[in-house]
C-alpha cells in the first residue's frame, strides 16, 4: 500500500437546511476543492456517502454531483453503510489510492432529511435496523440504543446522570463550532428533565436529524509532490480498520459492546503501529450518549464499565487527558448520516492544523475517528497524523 493523505476537508453547516442533498454535496465539494487548491479536473474518481437520498426521490447521486462539479466523465458511486457510510467511503478511497489505481479522489458525504416529519424520519431510520425482526417489530433507532443503554446500566451500574454528562460535554464543545447543528449550553438537569424518547434515553441523549455535507480530497504522495505542498500541510492516514457485525442487534451475545468497533479499532491501531496513549483526541460515534461510552470501551480508551466515570471526571473534555468529540460530536454538532464519517475527518483536519479556534486541542498531532453504522453492523476506524 502507498501512503494516502488528506489534502483538504471541509463542510457545510449542519442543521435544518432548505437545500437538497445534491446542493449540499456540491457546496461541500467546492469548498474542499478550493481549499486543496486543485482543479476539479484533478479528481479521478469519487465516492458519495449517503443513506437516504431516495427519501428525496433521487437515486444515483454520483453522476449528478460530478456533473455539478463540471466533471461528468469522472466515475462516482454511492457507498451506503447506514451511519458509517462516511468512514466506509474514506476507507474505499484509501484502498483505491493506496493500491495505485488513482492519485486523487473526492469523498463527499451528504444527507438531507429535514423535509420528513418526526414519525416519517423515525420510520426511515428504522430501515437501518434488521427491519424484518427489529424495525417492523416496533424498534425505532433510539429504541435500539435505549436497549443498549439499559444493558449497560444493568451490567455496569452506569447511571442516567452519567449518560447525561456526555451530552453536557458535547453541547459545550459545539458552542465554538460554527458549523454545529446546536449552539446551546445544557446542564445535567436539562438532560434529565427532557422528554423520554426511548427509555432510558431522553431528547438530550439523542443526536438530532440533521442535514449537511462534508467533503475531503484524498491523494497519493506523488500527487502531493505535483501540487508542491509543504510537508507541514500533510495529513497522513496512518491506520484504517473496518469490520462488520450482525445487522440485527438482538442476535448478539453481549449488548454492551459493538464487536465491529473492537475489531476495526484493533486493525487501525495495528496498522498505525500506535497504542491508545498515542492518540491526542478522538471523534467517536455518539449517536446517543451511551454510544460514546461504548466507543471508548470498545476502542480500549477505557476499561469496560469505566468510561462513564472518566467522562464525569473530565477526562474526555477539551483540556482533559483524551478529548473526545471536541467538534460537539453527533450529539451537538449533528448527525447528517452519510456526512458524519467525513465530517469527523474535517474536525481532525482543522484540529491537526491548529485551526479549531476555542475548541482547539493543544498540540494535537495524532487523532482517531470512529464511525458506526446502525447498531454496529458496520464500523470504520481511522488514525490520522500530521506529518
Amino acid at each position: 500500500m502507498r501512503n494516502v493523505y488528506v489534502l483538504s476537508a471541509d463542510t457545510t453547516k449542519y442543521g435544518k437546511s432548505p437545500l437538497s442533498a445534491r446542493e449540499l454535496a456540491l457546496q461541500a465539494s467546492k469548498k474542499a476543492i478550493l481549499d486543496a487548491e486543485i482543479s476539479p479536473a484533478d479528481i479521478q474518481a469519487s465516492f458519495i456517502a449517503n443513506a437516504f437520498s431516495l427519501a428525496e426521490k433521487q437515486g444515483h447521486l454520483g453522476p449528478i454531483i460530478m456533473s455539478g462539479l463540471g466533471i461528468p466523465d469522472v466515475p462516482a458511486s454511492t457507498i451506503e453503510s447506514a451511519c458509517a457510510s462516511g468512514a466506509s467511503a474514506i476507507r474505499e478511497a484509501w484502498i483505491n489510492i493506496g493500491a495505485g489505481i488513482y492519485d486523487c479522489m473526492l469523498v463527499v458525504g451528504v444527507e438531507k432529511v429535514s423535509q420528513l416529519d418526526t414519525i416519517t424520519a423515525t420510520t426511515y431510520f428504522s430501515f437501518g435496523s434488521d427491519f424484518v425482526f427489529e424495525g417492523a417489530c416496533g424498534a425505532s433507532f433510539p429504541g435500539l440504543y435505549g436497549a443498549i443503554a439499559r444493558s449497560h446500566i444493568t451490567k455496569y451500574g452506569t447511571t442516567e446522570e452519567q449518560l447525561a454528562s456526555v451530552a453536557v460535554k458535547n453541547h459545550a464543545n459545539a458552542m465554538s463550532n460554527p458549523n454545529a447543528h446546536f449552539h446551546k449550553r445544557i446542564s445535567i438537569e436539562d438532560v434529565m428533565k427532557s422528554p423520554v424518547i426511548a427509555s432510558p434515553l431522553k431528547l438530550y441523549d439523542a443526536c438530532p436529524f440533521s442535514d449537511g455535507a462534508a467533503a475531503a480530497i484524498l491523494c497519493s504522495e506523488d500527487f502531493l509532490k505535483k501540487t508542491g505542498r509543504k510537508s507541514s500541510e500533510k495529513v497522513l492516514i496512518r491506520g484504517s480498520g473496518r469490520a462488520g457485525g450482525t445487522g440485527a442487534l438482538f442476535q448478539r451475545e453481549d449488548l454492551t459492546t459493538l464487536n465491529a468497533a473492537v475489531m476495526a479499532g484493533r486493525e487501525a491501531f495495528k496498522m498505525a503501529g500506535l497504542s491508545q496513549k498515542d492518540i491526542d483526541f478522538a471523534e467517536v460515534h455518539d449517536c446517543f450518549t451511551v454510544a460514546e461510552l461504548v466507543a471508548e470501551e470498545d476502542l480500549g480508551f477505557a476499561r469496560r464499565g469505566q468510561a462513564a466515570k472518566l467522562t464525569q471526571e473530565g477526562y474526555t473534555k477539551i483540556g482533559g487527558e483524551l478529548p473526545v468529540n471536541p467538534s460537539g460530536g453527533l450529539k451537538a454538532k449533528g448527525h447528517p448520516v452519510g456526512a458524519t464519517g467525513v465530517g469527523q475527518v474535517v474536525e481532525v483536519f482543522e484540529q491537526l492544523h491548529g485551526k479549531a479556534g476555542e475548541r482547539q486541542v493543544e498540540d494535537a498531532r495524532i487523532a482517531l475517528t470512529h464511525n458506526v453504522g446502525a447498531t454496529g453492523g458496520s464500523c470504520g476506524v481511522h488514525i490520522f497524523e500530521l506529518t
Binding site: 418526526t118 414519525i119 416519517t120 423515525t122 420510520t123 428504522s126 424484518v132 425482526f133 427489529e134 424495525g135 417492523a136 417489530c137 416496533g138 424498534a139 425505532s140 433510539p142 429504541g143 435500539l144 435505549g146 436497549a147 443498549i148 443503554a149 439499559r150 444493558s151 444493568t154 422528554p195 423520554v196 424518547i197 426511548a198 427509555s199 432510558p200 434515553l201 450482525t246 440485527a248 442487534l249 438482538f250 442476535q251 449488548l255
Partner: protein
Amino acid sequence: MTELTQDASELTIKEFQEGIHEGKIEGYRCTNCGHQQIDIMEFCPVCHSAKLEKVEFSHFGSVVTYTIQLVAPEQFMNEVPYAWAIIQLDDGPKITGWIPFISRPEDLPIGQRVVFKKSYLPGIVFEKGKTGD
C-alpha cells in the same frame, strides 16, 4: 412460466410473519452444530454448515433488555408508550418483540418472564407471564 421455488427447509419472510400471526415462532437450527437463530439465512454463523432445518421455538422466555418508546415508527405510532424488548426464549435463540401498555421501567424488570401472544397487531407481541411460567 416457471415459478421460482424454494427448498422446503427454508423459511421465507412471508412464512415467518404469517407464522407469527398464526401463533408460531419459527427459525433455524443447524443440524451440524445445533446453533439456533431467528433469521433468514443459508449458512450457520458458528460452523458455516448449510445444513439448516426449520424449527419452531418455545413461546416462553425472559427479558434480556428493553426500552420504553414514546416516539415510534409509522406502524406503531398509535401504540405508544410500549416496551420493545430483546427476549431470550427458553429453548433457544433470542427474539425481539413488543409488549403493549408498558409505560414505566418499574413495570418491566430485566429477567421478567414473558410469553408470546398470537395476535394480528403488527410485529411480534409478548405479554408479561403469570408467576410460575
